[in-house]
């Protein structure tokens, strides 16, 4: 992998994975992928918050690119990325649209079946949790402090990044084109059995 794009902010904080988790994710990715460079993107207004993601990581490998590039350059950055990591946000959808391996960290406020990013290269990480969907719009209103996102551990997202990266990158391809999805045997569709109550 040469570069990963991380977009930690959506336009609604109920959908944002915690900044501290992103910071930890960056560290884990740097450890697992020694040659990778990570671009943290967002708007100029999100630059200060992105500082919390990049602070404890080497500037040589992690850049805070919020507000730094014009939109056209961001699109090029996304298209050429080895993986895009985003919330349920526009950047997540773009990653899937471009056919770039994309990890979408999906909160419980909305239904993933309705709003998930599309594409054969998208890996969706979400939390099975009893209070979802809550249909809230603001993180401050969350009854459980966004447990649906908070409890998604960075290590799990690292696994998803590695899984997404194994998918075939289709530079310039639109998502949803017939034939691009992995074709799995029926057994792959069987639901994974949940542990009974009381078991970890």
């Amino acid at each position: 992998m040469s570069h990963i794009v991380i977009s930690p902010f959506s336009n609604s904080d109920i959908r944002d994975w915690p900044v501290g988790h992103y910071a930890e994710l960056v560290g884990l990715l740097l450890d697992r992928l020694p040659d990778v460079h990570i671009h943290v993107i967002g708007t100029q207004n999100q630059k200060s918050k992105a500082c919390e993601v990049v602070r404890f990581h080497p500037a040589t490998r992690v850049t805070n690119d919020c507000g730094r590039y014009p939109w056209s350059a961001i699109l090029q950055l996304l298209k050429s990325a080895d993986c895009v990591v985003a919330n349920n946000s526009g950047i997540g959808h773009l990653g899937g649209y471009f056919g770039v391996p994309t990890v979408c960290i999906f909160g419980g406020s909305h239904q993933r079946h309705e709003w998930r990013a599309l594409g054969a290269t998208v890996v969706l990480v979400s939390r099975v949790i009893g209070c979802s969907p809550c249909q809230l719009d603001h993180g401050g209103a969350s009854y459980y402090d966004k447990a649906c996102l908070r409890e998604i551990k960075p290590a799990k997202v690292v696994d998803a990044v590695l899984s997404a990266a194994r998918s075939v990158k289709r530079a310039g391809a639109r998502s949803g084109v017939a034939g691009d999805f992995p074709t799995l045997p029926r057994s792959a569709l069987e639901p994974i059995q949940a542990s009974p109550p009381g078991r970890p």
């Binding site: 904080d13 915690p18 900044v19 200060s48 500082c51 990049v54 602070r55 404890f56 080497p58 500037a59 040589t60 805070n64 993933r112 079946h113 998930r116 599309l118 594409g119 054969a120 998208v122 890996v123 969706l124 990480v125 979400s126 939390r127 099975v128 949790i129 009893g130 209070c131 993180g139 401050g140 209103a141 969350s142 009854y143 459980y144 402090d145 966004k146 447990a147 409890e151 998604i152 799990k156 696994d159 998803a160 899984s163 998918s167 949803g176 017939a178 999805f181 992995p182 074709t183 799995l184 045997p185 029926r186 792959a188 569709l189 639901p191 994974i192 949940a194 542990s195 109550p197 970890p200």
Partner: protein
């Protein structure tokens, strides 16, 4: 230009930089203080061990500026200062991009903004305060061309004071708008909480089961969807389950590779009780294969449950998943459509209406006497009935005395606001038509006297309110075609979500 001469000049200038600053603009920070000058590669000093740390013309050469700034800063005592000086992009370099004219080891160009950005990335909010930030240009010669080395000061200098971070800083750092949870995690609800990782997959469709259990007419108007299945899956083996009365037609039309006759409904539902649920066992004995895809093409919900008995990887049908949780692909049609769409009639007898002095309530009507009625006032009103949006007609049942001349005003008010009116001067069948745009409004019918003419004698028996049936339903064949289009989209474009097994 002689770069080597220029380099010497810069070196000399910088070698005296701290002393120059101590006597000059930074005297308040450096004068009389123990100053530790730091360079790239120096060993790390202990935490909070220094009063003043000066990093003069080092940062621009560092690849990892965050780490370096943090290292320098943490060696400063609380109340102490970190002084950082870097060459100014517009004064020293006089260019907007690298490489540097004067120092090939320089990695970044600086302005006050970009220097401060690096500080904000490197240091936690509220661990420092910016005490001084400026362009230095004392003795700078602005008349020199860009290919001549700068003279005098041409730097950006920043002074940070290390402060004790307030206790609320972590809140700021972690989440700007952190919620105040009443509980840390939700209680167990339907299954243990866990993180799932999913990808979209497109399963192979080799064997398809279709249920089309309607009567003849429904079967005929469902031919479009049935034929569409063959078009969408030309290589699939299709098994079609139909009522026995439709099996010959299905065979003759070549709709499927295999046909199964199953009479979920009586051939004539008026002659025999419908009991689809009671025939589930028969269905299970007839439909025994394994299928990749099973679709119930009936629009109404009453056969959907049969899909539960089918061994199929994907079950598709019309209706919300909240009602049919076993469906993998569902077209969420609201089965309550018939209730709000239905034409309705509401009969209000005269007791639902109020009247005033000129009129009297009797057991079967309201009687109004013209000679007692005041001019220009409401003499009957009611029934204050809540309405949903739609088209309405109200027909008051009025018996007017045709022997006396006079005039009455009839009107309809919605939330007390008049929306339609009609004058009557004798016996007539009044029909007041109106439209309701918003839900939850209150309907009121009123009879008024007018000020220019005497009223009429009349008897009022109540009235009939009719809501027009709406037509926002689709044709039965369209429901089926939309379901199949959804199946196609789901299988070919959006995919089905499948959970990845834990690594």
């Amino acid at each position: 230009m002689d770069p080597s001469n220029q380099q010497v000049s810069i070196t000399e200038y910088r070698s005296n930089w701290i002393e120059d600053m101590r006597k000059g603009v930074l005297s308040s920070f450096l004068s009389g203080k123990a100053v530790d000058e730091v360079r790239i590669g120096d060993p790390e000093a202990p935490e909070a061990s220094r009063a003043v740390v000066v990093a003069a013309f080092q940062l621009q050469k560092a690849a990892d500026y965050r780490s370096l700034l943090r290292t320098w800063f943490t060696s400063v005592k609380i109340g102490g200062h970190l002084v950082v000086a870097v060459p100014h992009a517009f004064l020293h370099e006089r260019q907007l991009s690298l490489p540097s004219r004067w120092d090939p080891s320089q990695r970044r160009l600086y302005t006050p903004r970009s220097l401060l950005e690096e500080v904000e990335e490197a240091l936690a909010p509220n661990s420092y305060r910016v005490r001084y930030l400026t362009d230095l240009d004392k003795d700078y010669d602005y008349t020199l061309d860009v290919d001549q080395g700068p003279t005098g000061q041409s730097d950006v200098v920043l002074v940070l004071e290390r402060i004790q971070a307030p206790r609320w800083t972590p809140t700021l750092v972690v989440e700007e708008r952190q919620a105040k949870p009443r509980l840390q995690t939700p209680d167990y609800a339907f299954e243990p909480a866990r993180t799932r990782t999913e990808v979209a997959v497109r399963p192979r469709i080799g064997k398809i089961l279709l249920l089309k259990l309607d009567h003849l007419g429904d079967f005929i108007i469902g031919l479009g969807p049935l034929e569409r299945v063959r078009t969408l899956f030309p290589d699939a083996e299709i098994t079609l389950v139909v009522g026995s009365w439709n099996i010959d037609m299905a065979r003759n039309l070549g709709l499927a590779d295999n046909l199964i006759a199953f009479d979920a409904f009586p051939r004539n539902s008026t002659e025999e009780e419908v009991n689809v649920a009671g025939k589930a066992a028969i269905f299970q004995t007839l439909v025994t294969g394994d299928f990749d895809l099973a679709i119930d093409l009936r629009t109404d919900w009453d056969t959907r449950f049969l899909l539960r008995y089918v061994k199929a990887s994907i079950r598709a049908g019309i209706g919300p998943r909240s009602q049919f949780p076993f469906l993998d692909i569902f077209l969420p049609v609201d089965f309550n459509r018939n209730e709000p769409e239905t034409a309705r009639e509401f009969i209000f007898d005269h007791h639902r209406f109020s009247t005033q002095g000129s009129s009297e309530q009797t057991p079967n009507r309201i009687i109004s006497h013209a000679e007692l009625a005041e001019r220009d006032c409401a003499i009957v009103w009611g029934p204050y009935f809540g309405l949903r949006p739609g088209n309405y007609v109200f027909e008051p049942r009025l018996d007017v005395d045709k022997t006396k001349p006079g005039l009455l005003l009839l009107d309809i008010a919605i939330n007390t606001k008049r929306v339609v009116q009609d004058f009557i001067s004798g016996p007539t069948t009044a029909r007041l038509a109106f439209r309701v745009e918003k839900p939850g409004v209150e309907f009121e019918f009123r009879i008024w006297t007018v000020d220019i003419q005497p009223a009429l004698d009349f008897s009022f028996y109540g009235g009939r309110l009719i809501r027009e049936g709406a037509a926002s339903v689709l044709h039965q064949s369209e429901y089926g075609l939309l379901l199949l289009e959804l199946v196609r989209v789901r299988l070919a474009r959006t995919g089905l979500l499948a959970e990845q097994a834990p690594a």
